[in-house]
């Protein structure tokens, strides 16, 4: 089963809507609470990245009996140095975003920690796509 959500750019009022919806769906199929937690947190981080850095994007969840794949894609500025972006504490978030408690540079590392498989594709000027796989086990 596949669901898709649009993430509006810069709209903090709607921050976390996609991840909250995905979490609700997963509760209905009865997978372990801890797995739901990992998926919700990973998706939320990705959703916030889209909202803050990329002017919006798209969250797709493919819910299967063995696991869930979350694909978060945007047509934002792209990431010039992925290795650097993967370091904890490294962030390009503007000050107003940091003032709201975001932009601590934990987004990508957290997403990698949460997921069983993490892949990021990014091209400067074209955008980024993150694929996270979660197994229920």
């Amino acid at each position: 089963m596949k669901v898709e959500y649009q993430v509006p750019g810069g709209d903090f009022d709607r921050a976390g809507e996609a991840s909250a919806n995905i979490k609700k769906l997963l509760q209905r199929i009865g997978i372990p609470a801890d797995v739901i937690r990992r998926i919700a947190i990973g998706t939320y981080e990705g959703e916030m990245n889209c909202l803050i850095h990329a002017g919006g994007g798209r969250v797709v969840a493919e819910i299967e009996p063995e696991g869930t794949v979350i694909i978060i894609s945007d047509q934002g500025p792209g990431i010039p140095d992925i290795q650097k972006a993967m370091q904890e504490g490294w962030s390009t978030a503007p000050d107003y975003v940091r003032a709201m408690g975001f932009g601590a540079g934990m987004g990508l590392p957290n997403m990698m920690k949460c997921s069983d498989d993490f892949n990021i594709q990014s091209k400067v000027g074209e955008g980024s796509t993150i694929t996270m796989k979660f197994l229920y086990k």
Partner: protein, 464 residues
């Protein structure tokens, strides 16, 4: 008690007019209106009491025990909650309330604020010992919040602190203390909550946080308040002659309202959240890991904290004023240092520590569509599809709280698409159009006969 005893809130069918008010406010979507009457899905009800507050017909009520239950025991102890004191002006001595309770039939009173002092210290200690790890930690004091976590946020169970609620700890302490002092067998001592909370009553029979509740019953404040307030007013200053009983500090008393727990435990990097929607939203955010920098959250299901409970007699803002006044008066006589003030009141040798009695919260997820994950995903897909047909107005006319719940009921086989008034109307219109179309298609050969029949009919009328 029966194993299927899961909640104390229930519907008085004769009083219910099916308005769906309760259906809409229930945080776990546990109520449906069927055949014009509200029905509670037992496994989902968390006894928050939101429906009780909402119902204009008073058709939703919660079970509590009657004072007549005291007759079943030789010796009865009342656990006086801080929220009970808040029903009275802050200058009414606690002794007057105790004396009043005795006139109602209790043999002895235990001041729950004393237990709150012990539990506050335990919370502070637990937080010190668990400074690392998943944050924020969540208070275990409100049984309705614990039930909400079981049903809707099982992923947060690990963050709930394994500390007893003051009332449960007090009951453990009081039963053994009384039995020893009075030389009574355990079963002859009755321990009673005097409480504003319907969830406390459920917890006695089906506890979520303690292995075995030592409380025998819960008496709602509202059911005894008329009698009690008359007694208290009569007693006045007479009460000063009373034997001294163990009491708690002003910080223990503070537990009666929102913010009191974290203040008593001395946790500064903490949030105090109360009210159904507020707690729900907060837990949602915690489960997304949105606030890892907060140490502790104190959550109470009732707006204002325990003083806002459905069984309270006094308006909760007045109760807050009363409680604040009592705290100010007590603090004048207490050491200014919080810990010193609390230590001064800790006079319960052998007061139980939670470790021995606390039960790990069990997940009780009630949202899953099927035990078989493949079937559940299939049903989820169907549900999403059904949802696209529904108007999305969340009007509640179908008896479910919103379109999503109706979609869920439909795929579970508990409802039909035409339960939606808009789909029903569309279907009726389609059906009516079909009838008209059919009418125009009646073969012409018959039209002649129809005319004849009509004429014959009118002839008959004329001959009459």
């Amino acid at each position: 008690m029966a194993e299927n005893y899961l909640h104390s809130v229930h519907v008085i069918k004769e009083a219910c007019n099916g308005c769906v008010g309760c259906v809409k406010v229930c945080p776990t979507e546990a109520i449906r209106v069927r055949q014009g009457k509200a029905e509670i899905v037992a496994t989902r009800c968390i006894d928050c009491g939101e429906c009780i507050r909402r119902c204009p017909e008073h058709a939703l009520v919660a079970k509590a025990d009657a004072l007549s239950g005291l007759q079943g025991y030789k010796y009865n102890v009342a656990l006086a909650t801080p929220s009970l004191y808040a029903q009275f002006n802050g200058n009414v001595p606690r002794e007057a309330v105790w004396q009043g309770l005795k006139e109602l039939g209790f043999d002895e009173i235990f001041d729950l604020s004393a237990a709150s002092d012990y539990i506050s210290a335990e919370i502070a200690q637990y937080l010190r010992q668990h400074a690392q790890g998943r944050k924020p930690l969540i208070s275990s004091a409100c049984p309705a919040v614990l039930r909400l976590i079981q049903v809707k946020f099982p992923e947060l169970i690990k963050q709930v602190i394994p500390v007893l609620a003051p009332g449960e700890a007090a009951a453990v302490y009081k039963r053994s203390e009384v039995c020893q002092r009075m030389n009574l067998p355990r079963e002859e001592v009755g321990i009673w909550f005097v409480t504003p909370c319907p969830a406390k009553g459920t917890n006695i029979h089906q506890s979520v946080d303690v292995k075995h509740s030592e409380v025998n019953g819960s008496i709602s404040i509202s059911s005894i308040f008329a009698q009690l307030s008359v007694a208290v007013a009569k007693i006045g200053d007479e009460c000063k002659k009373q034997d001294k009983i163990t009491t708690g500090s002003s910080y223990g008393i503070g537990w009666g309202a929102g913010g009191g727990e974290i203040k008593a435990a001395g946790i500064t990097n903490a949030l105090s959240v109360n009210g159904v929607r507020e707690v729900y939203e907060l837990l949602e955010q915690v489960s997304m890991n949105k606030m890892p920098d907060v140490d502790y959250v104190e959550c109470y299901m009732c707006a204002g904290g325990c003083i806002g409970g459905p069984f309270a007699a006094e308006n909760r803002f007045v109760a807050q004023k009363n409680l604040d006044k009592r705290i100010r008066r007590m603090q004048r006589l207490e050491p200014t240092d919080r810990e010193a003030a609390m230590a001064l009141n800790m006079n319960c040798p052998g007061f139980p520590t939670s470790e021995e009695y606390v039960k790990v919260l069990e997940p009780r997820p009630m949202m899953q569509l099927d035990d078989d994950i493949t079937v559940a995903i299939k049903k989820l897909g169907e549900m999403e599809k059904v949802l696209t047909h529904l108007p999305g107005l969340d009007c509640g006319a179908c008896g479910a709280p919103n379109c999503q719940s109706l979609a869920e009921d439909i795929v579970r086989g508990a409802a039909h698409e035409t339960d939606c008034i808009f789909i029903l109307k569309a279907n009726v219109r389609k059906f009516a159009q079909g009838m008209i179309e059919l009418a125009t298609q009646i073969p012409l050969v018959n039209e002649h006969d129809d005319k004849n029949l009509a004429e014959k009919g009118s002839d008959k009328d004329e001959t009459k």
